[in-house]
C-alpha cells in the first residue's frame, strides 16, 4: 500500500487549525484526539483479550498526579507528567502482575480491573481535602495564562497540535506493536497460554509489558485532558463510565485495526455532543445508556467494529 494517502491526511490534519479555527469545532476536535489516544491505549492490550474495565483508574491517576504535583509542589507538568506515567505503570504492575502470575484471566481479570477502577475513584473521592473530592479539581493558573513551563495554553490551535502529536504517537506505538514478535506472542497467549509457553514465551512477562505500555499511555491521556480542560473530576476522568466508554468506543470503532478506536472516539463524542445540545441537561447520563445498548448490539452483530468491518470488506 502506498504511504502517500497517510502523509496527505497527516498534512491536512496539521494544517486544519490554521485554515479553520472556529473555537467550538476545534474544541471538539481536540477532545476527539485526546480520547482517541485514550481509546487506542486501551485497545493496545484490549485487542489481545486483556479486557480492562478499569482503565479510568489509570486515566485518573495521570490527571490527578499531574495536577496535585503542580498545585501542591509547584512541579512543572514537564516533570509531573512523567511521574504520573510512572505512577500509572506502577499501579498496572501492582494489579496485573499477581493476576498474570496466578493466571487470573478472562472474566476474572476484567472483574479485578473493574475493582481497580472503583478503588482509584474511591481514593480520589475520599481524599477530598487534597483532591476536592467529587466537586473536582482545578490546576492553578500560571501568571499570564499561556506558559510552556506550566503547559498551559489559552490558544486552541496549540492544544490541537499537541493533541494531534500525542494521538499520532499513540498510533505509532500501535503499529510498532502490530509489526513485532510481541504481537505474535500476545495473540498466541490470548488463545492458549500453555501452548504459548511451550514455544518459549514467558507468558507473564509479555502480558505485563503490553499492560504497562497501555496503562502509561492512558495516564498520559489523563494528564493531557487535565492540562487542556483545566478541570478534572472523578466522574470525567476516572469513573466507571469513563472505563466503560473506552471499551465501548474501541469495540464500536474496531478493536483490531489501528484507526478503530479513533473512529470510535469520533462517534461517541459526536453522539454525546448531539445528545447534550438537543436534549440539554435533562439528558445527562443518557449517553451511557445509549452506549450500553449499542455495545450489546455491536458485540453481537458487528464484533469487528465499524472500521474493522469496512476494511475486511474492502480486502475481499
Amino acid at each position: 500500500m502506498s504511504r502517500w494517502p497517510r502523509w496527505i491526511a497527516g498534512a491536512a490534519l496539521v494544517a486544519l487549525p490554521f485554515v479553520y479555527h472556529a473555537p467550538y469545532p476545534l474544541h471538539i476536535a481536540i477532545l476527539i484526539l485526546i480520547w482517541s489516544f485514550a481509546y487506542t491505549s486501551w485497545s493496545a492490550m484490549g485487542r489481545f483479550g486483556l479486557t480492562s474495565l478499569g482503565h479510568g483508574g489509570f486515566m485518573g491517576t495521570g490527571a490527578y498526579v499531574t495536577a496535585l504535583l503542580w498545585n501542591r509542589g509547584g512541579v512543572s507538568p514537564w516533570l509531573g507528567i512523567p511521574v504520573a506515567l510512572l505512577a500509572g505503570a506502577l499501579l498496572a504492575v501492582l494489579v496485573a502482575y499477581p493476576c498474570f502470575r496466578y493466571r487470573i484471566t478472562g472474566h476474572y481479570f476484567a472483574l479485578v480491573t473493574l475493582a481497580l477502577g472503583g478503588i482509584v475513584l474511591q481514593v480520589i473521592t475520599a481524599t477530598r481535602d487534597y483532591t476536592g473530592g467529587s466537586l473536582g479539581y482545578t490546576p492553578e493558573r500560571y501568571q499570564g495564562g499561556s506558559s510552556l513551563y506550566a503547559l498551559q495554553f489559552s490558544g486552541k490551535t496549540t492544544w490541537y497540535l499537541i493533541a494531534l502529536a500525542v494521538w499520532a504517537a499513540g498510533l505509532y506505538v500501535w503499529y510498532r506493536v502490530d509489526g513485532s514478535m510481541l504481537r505474535y506472542a500476545l495473540e498466541a497467549i490470548s488463545e492458549d497460554e500453555d501452548a504459548a509457553a511451550a514455544t518459549g514465551v514467558h507468558v507473564t512477562a509479555e502480558k505485563l509489558k503490553i499492560t504497562v505500555v497501555s496503562a502509561a499511555m492512558t495516564a498520559l491521556a489523563g494528564a493531557l485532558y487535565c492540562q487542556y480542560q483545566m478541570f478534572i473530576s472523578p466522574d470525567t476522568v476516572s469513573g466507571i463510565s469513563v472505563s466503560l466508554q473506552m471499551v465501548f468506543a474501541a469495540v464500536v470503532g474496531g478493536l483490531y485495526v489501528a484507526l478503530g478506536p479513533t473512529v470510535g472516539a469520533v462517534i461517541t463524542i459526536l453522539m454525546a455532543e448531539v445528545l447534550r445540545i438537543s436534549v440539554g441537561t435533562r439528558a445527562v447520563g443518557w449517553d451511557n445508556l445509549v452506549y450500553g445498548a449499542l455495545l450489546v448490539v455491536f458485540i453481537v452483530f458487528l464484533p469487528k467494529g465499524i472500521l474493522g468491518t469496512v476494511l475486511a470488506h474492502r480486502q475481499r
Partner: protein, 251 residues
C-alpha cells in the same frame, strides 16, 4: 543427557507417578508406553515443566530442571509437542512456528527466527510461504505443525506426545519416518510417548513401559515385547503379544 531419579507426582490422594527412575542417552529414541492412566503423560508434562514434581530429581545435561517454568525448559533445549494439536488460529502457519524460532532461541534477529521457522516447516513437509494458514489443516498436518513448532526452537531433546493418535495407517508410517529423520538429520534425541505400540516398537532404540505410575520394564523393543509382565498388564491377551513381537522382529 537426561536422567530422572525417584520421580513422583501425586494429584490429591492419587499417585500418578511413583518413584520412577530412567535415563535418556544422547542421540537415542526412547519410547515411553503404557495403558491409559499409567502415568506416561504425567511424566511427559513434568519433563516439559507443565507440572511440578513432588519428589525426585530431573537433570538435563547435568543441570536440575525439575519445577522450572515451561518457557525456561524450552530455552534450555527441550522442545515438546501436544497430544491434541494446539495451533494458534489467529496466526498464520509461519507465525505459529516463528514464535519458537524467536522466543525459544533467545530472541535472535527477526530474519533468523523466520529462517528457523521455514527450515522446521520444510523438514516436516508443510508449506513455507508466508500466506499459508493453519485453518483447514488435517489431523496429519496438525501433528506435523506440532513437530515444526517444537523443532524451530532448536531443541537437543524432543518430547513427542502421541504423534500417531488420530492418524490412519499410512499417515502413521509417515509420522514414524519423520521422527527417524528428525533424529538423523538434526541429531535430536527423542522421548516418544505413545499409546499405539506396534509402529513405535519398530522405530525406537529402547522402550520403557509404565503401569499404575510405576516402571515395569525397560530395554530393547524385542525384550520388552517378550516380557511376561508387559504382556499381562499392557497387552492382556496372548494373541496381541504375538502380533507385537512379530512387529518388533520386522523392525
Amino acid at each position: 543427557m537426561l536422567s530422572i531419579e525417584g520421580l513422583s507426582k501425586r494429584f490429591g490422594g492419587f499417585t500418578a507417578v511413583n518413584n520412577v527412575s530412567f535415563a535418556v542417552e544422547p542421540g537415542e529414541i526412547l519410547g515411553l508406553i503404557g495403558p491409559n492412566g499409567s502415568g506416561k503423560s504425567t511424566i511427559f508434562n513434568v519433563l516439559a515443566g507443565a507440572l511440578v514434581p513432588d519428589a525426585g530429581s530431573i537433570r538435563f545435561e547435568g543441570r536440575e530442571i525439575g519445577g522450572l517454568a515451561p518457557y525456561r525448559i524450552v530455552n534450555l533445549g527441550i522442545g515438546r509437542t501436544f497430544q491434541i494439536p494446539r495451533p494458534f488460529h489467529r496466526l498464520s502457519l509461519v507465525e505459529n512456528v516463528v514464535l519458537s524460532g524467536f522466543y525459544g532461541q533467545g530472541r535472535p534477529a527477526r530474519a533468523r527466527a523466520f529462517e528457523a521457522a521455514e527450515r522446521a516447516l520444510a523438514l516436516v513437509g508443510l508449506p513455507t510461504d508466508r500466506a499459508a494458514s493453519v485453518d483447514g489443516l488435517g489431523a496429519a498436518a496438525l501433528k506435523k505443525l506440532e513437530l515444526a513448532k517444537a523443532l524451530a526452537s532448536g531443541p537437543k531433546l524432543l518430547l513427542a506426545d502421541e504423534s500417531l493418535s488420530g492418524l490412519d495407517e499410512h499417515e502413521m508410517d509417515q509420522a514414524a519416518d519423520l521422527l527417524r529423520r528428525i533424529r538423523k538429520d538434526l541429531g535430536v534425541t527423542i522421548v516418544w510417548v505413545e499409546h499405539i505400540m506396534g509402529i513405535l516398537m519398530r522405530v525406537v532404540d529402547r522402550v520403557m513401559v509404565l503401569d499404575h505410575g510405576e516402571k515395569i520394564a525397560e530395554g530393547l523393543p524385542a525384550q520388552v515385547a517378550a516380557d511376561p509382565r508387559v504382556i499381562e498388564v499392557y497387552l492382556g491377551t496372548q494373541a496381541a503379544a504375538v502380533r507385537v513381537a512379530a512387529a518388533a522382529a520386522r523392525g
